[in-house]
Symmetry: C2
Subunit: 195 residues, 2 copies
Amino acid sequence: MVHYPNGQTYIEKEIKQGAGGRGMDLEKDLNLTNTYYLETDKAVIYKKPTPVQVVKVDYKSRSTAKITEAYYKTPSTIDYSGVYKGYHLDFEAKESRSKTSFPLSSIHKHQIDYIDNVIRHGGISFVIVRFVLLEETYLIEGAKIVNVYRNRTRESIPYTWFKENGYLLPFGLAPRIDYLKIVDILIAKEEAYGE
Amino acid sequence: MVHYPNGQTYIEKEIKQGAGGRGMDLEKDLNLTNTYYLETDKAVIYKKPTPVQVVKVDYKSRSTAKITEAYYKTPSTIDYSGVYKGYHLDFEAKESRSKTSFPLSSIHKHQIDYIDNVIRHGGISFVIVRFVLLEETYLIEGAKIVNVYRNRTRESIPYTWFKENGYLLPFGLAPRIDYLKIVDILIAKEEAYGE
């Protein structure tokens, strides 16, 4: 799947979707949620830019360098990061078009290693997975996704696993997906059990 | 100044620079330092991808989407972020070609606001400035750069200010610029004075 960078594209999608598209675009929902968190001064969380390998640039004038050949690169890290209550947050967001499972191929092995690294160094990492057709969005703790990925016996995780192991994120207006409520639970757990 | 994304460009620069180019490319030095920290399991710190606004993509095949028109965007945040000893780190790196001052125009107002936000939410933020012609690299605490930027009476900060207010970062082989040593000092200060 190709991810589009911020900007125009979202506006176009929003217009096309209309009211019926409620919650159909996870990335847009998360960007709106993060803007809400920023404006209400709850947290500072951004989506990292999509990594692009630039091959050719046309420098007609200094201020308007035009990239004429570039390619999407495999990201080294995961999509979103920021700081909340002194904690480093780092998470990935994925949509599944299946009603019964989530394909593990949509997460790269080095992204799993990255999640593991962030947790070991004291950050909070997780994955947000939306089952688009079911209109359900789950937050899964990083440690659980690392474990299920590394010990997998098949190439997808069944939907029922998310129901049992994830936190269902309700859909709201502002913020759209209040995932920091679940992060508060993760922080409370961490503080209770120590590092 | 146009920042190039990771990849080929660095290798080319390295070859061109040769041994004489020691420490002439701050971004390269920081990337090597961060790789060292990652490999020695000290911290997880990455440079964020350069934000690009994609306008046209040529989809000949799914795997080889070729971007044929794109532009560099003004970054929303700052260049580097990660996690170290449970702390969220967020910093910007800048080079100055002047021997006597650092031009404030090379930092955007919204980046100053970003640094301020990160600090208020409990992260550690700073700026690394290299005076290329003097071969000196300084780490400046975020709060100090925010303060000097917001209360400025002229459009540049004199070099002497960096000598008085910054931490000089020695140049080494591995890691190239061991800035986490200074971060340890910042953490100790934070723990001593509370939040």
